[in-house]
């Protein structure tokens, strides 16, 4: 066997890393790119709602009442004559903020908890998972009402409480994934190379469990948006005249037969966001898996 001279350096350096590869693969996925832009648009809308909105969110026009879509009010107005378009714009603030922040909370706790529990196993795993089971058993609504009563109604508390409930499932998913990856021979191989534990976890285990984590995250977000509307309905979330998509939809349902646009427009907005998030999530999952690369 002859030994060739090493390849010139630059040939190595144009090499790809997992994340560079992932981004280039994501770009090729049209649906994911579409989803990415829609989500970005909604984030911008949420940030600059007061600049874009044609009316103020509390401005009522009782003479107008509930009017169907027109050139003055694109999405129509509600029973108090408030512009629906404006309320949807402002509603995106609460809805997106709640869903993203709560998801971040759920992700952080869930992934950490699940990883530690799944990687170290044994008695520690047993204790950690029993804690999860106990929290599962707590009635969620009572838990939130208790927190609200103790700490007062506070939108940031809402994020934390929702996140603190949603991480339970995430921890279980992560734990089972970590356990199966932990038993793969490549983990034994890097242990026997003498790699440190954090390095094994961050370099070899976490990238391999991202797929299910991303999918579950995109499934959590719609759940949280609806959960928020449920809490608002109980008087624990946002209160009118401030709006959220969830609260708009639930009040739209009440007047569905007389004023259908009050249900249709908020629902369409929510669906569009959820579809986009799912497209983006699926695209991300495929993109970080080198096996899905199209030859």
């Amino acid at each position: 066997m002859t030994v060739d001279s090493p390849l010139p350096l630059h040939q190595y350096q144009q090499g790809r890393s997992l994340w560079q590869d992932a981004i280039s693969r994501l770009r090729q996925n049209r649906l994911a790119v579409f989803g990415f832009w829609v989500v970005t648009c909604f984030i911008l809308i949420a940030l600059f709602a007061d600049l874009i909105a044609p009316y103020s969110y509390e401005e009522q026009n009782l003479d107008l009442g509930a009017s169907p879509p027109s050139s003055a009010h694109w999405f129509g107005t509600d029973t108090l004559g408030r512009d629906l378009f404006t309320r949807i714009l402002y509603g995106s603030r609460v809805s997106l903020l709640v869903s993203f922040l709560s998801t971040v909370v759920a992700l952080t706790i869930g992934v950490l908890w699940g990883t530690v529990s799944g990687y170290f196993g044994g008695r520690l795993d047993m204790i950690m998972m029993r804690i999860v089971d106990i929290l599962y058993a707590l009635p969620f609504t009572i838990f939130i009402i208790l927190l609200m009563v103790v700490f007062g109604r506070n939108i940031y508390l809402l994020f934390i409480t929702i996140g603190a409930v949603e991480w339970l499932t995430m921890a279980r998913i992560v734990r089972s994934q970590v356990m199966s990856i932990r038993n793969q021979e490549y983990i034994d191989a890097v242990i026997s190379m003498g790699l440190s534990r954090p390095r094994i976890i961050f370099r070899h285990i976490l990238p391999n469990i991202l797929g299910p984590v991303i999918v579950y995250t995109t499934l959590t977000i719609p759940g949280i948006i609806l959960l928020e509307s449920f809490l608002s309905f109980l008087g624990l979330g946002v209160q009118p005249p401030m709006s959220s998509w969830g609260s708009l939809i639930s009040s739209g349902v009440e007047t569905m037969e007389e004023y259908p646009w009050l249900l249709v427009f908020p629902s369409l907005t929510l669906s569009l966001t959820l579809f986009s998030l799912n497209f983006l999530g699926d695209g991300l999952r495929d993109a970080i898996d080198p096996r899905s690369a199209r030859e």
């Binding site: 001279s5 021979e185 898996d289």
Partner: protein, 558 residues
Amino acid sequence: MSILSIENLSISFHGREGITRAVLNASFKLDKGETIAIVGESGSGKSVLCSSIMGLLPMPPARIENGTIEFQGQNILTSDNRQLRGLRGNRIGMVFQDPMTSLNPYLKIKNQITEPVCLHQRMTAKAAWPLAIAMLNEVGLPDPEQIMNLYPHQLSGGMRQRVMIAMALINKPDILIADEPTTALDVTIQSQILKLIKKLQREYNIAVIFVSHDLGVVAGIADHILVMQQGQIVEQGTPDNIFYKSQHPYTRNLLDSIPVRAKTEKFIANSADTKPLLTLQHLRTWYQSNDNELFRSGRNLVKAVDDVNLQIFPGETLGLVGESGSGKSTLGRSVMRLVQITDGKILLDDRNLAELSASELKLYRREFQMIFQDPYASLNPRMTIFDALSEALQIRGALSESTIHEEITLLMNDVGLDPASIRKYPHEFSGGQRQRIAIARAIALKPRLIIADEPVSALDVTIQAQILDLLLMLVKKNQLTMLFISHDLSVIRYMSDRVAVMYQGIIVETGDTESLFAQPAHPYTKTLLSAIPLPDPIRERARYRQVNVKSSEPHITP
């Protein structure tokens, strides 16, 4: 008059990636009472061919391009589902590769074995009972009445395969299709099952189609051998013609790939004045099976490794051979401290590795490296080859970027891979290539001992031979010390200077390879050696003249 004739059969799969031709213009005839062996490597189309005879191909994506399959004058390809169901399990019986998954774990043996009778002969389960008992007797299972009332998990692999054979034969079919029936079994069990199939075939005058990747296995039982490569039957003939007068280069390649020779260049371990590199003293690794973490109970103690004493000398290759469950892999993993050892000493440079703390252990770990069995599981699928190798190199110390590049190029050349492909991910390589990458990673750390745990048993024979030769070359070039673990005696013989035989957690015999193979002292070693299938039809046939086909396994596994 042949009972099955296949004419000019072509099968292809139409998938998203295009058309794959699985079988190309295959023709053969099967006579009553004849045994045809179909031999080929993975992907050669042998299993697809078998499934088509049973009408079991998933269509689509499978498509019959041309040809006919005729079973006793009935065209299988044009038969409808009802007609096919009349044949399956009735006129044609089938035995699958993995006895662990081919029986329903939720049903007792009695429900499964009587099912084909009840179905095809319209008998009640009660009426079928004596038939089932007789059949279990026929396949050499002791105490059939008791076995009928057991669940599959209570039986060992060999016994389950006997049950599968009993099920396949209970309706006295004309054809028995056996798709790699012994591949998942240990070598001693394999030889029992082969003898059983041969005996039953003679008794019932059944035609057998025996599919295998192993030429040695079919040497004694086949009347006719078909060699398949990439969907084509490249050669067919009697065993004597195939083994002694083979015409086709692929068949000869297959035959040459079976490691029959012993290692040629011997390392001479002069134990009198050479200090052993590694010494194992009274090593014990016991497991608590059925582990309840909260309430530990002392029940179900599995002594995977029990009181093992072993020495490995620098520069030698020590072969560790044993059947599944003998504890050979656990021994390798105990030395690596990948599993918690119960007791004993692992001495390297007079230091006891068993006593090291976790942080000390991290430094010592690089002295030993491991090559694993499954090349699909031993590489992180999300890391390029470059990342995997440079990670290993960086453990040796802070190396400059250019040194890493040079080293990786050298490593890739050493293991016979193109250095230009280092930016690829593991899934872009074949099984053999991945095993080469795993080897490169192991030698990258310049370890003092390599533990190779079944490094070739997941590979096809021709690839197997290449990897073995690569390992031999690297051992010689880098003067590596290796603990080579395998269940395959011929591979062990090919690779090792000394051999240790392991049985139920204990080393029963150690010795120089040649003398151990020539004159085994321990009865277990003798059984093991006599069970190896040889690629030699004349010697293999002699083996089948013995009559004992009883199951010699421990009766019921707990």
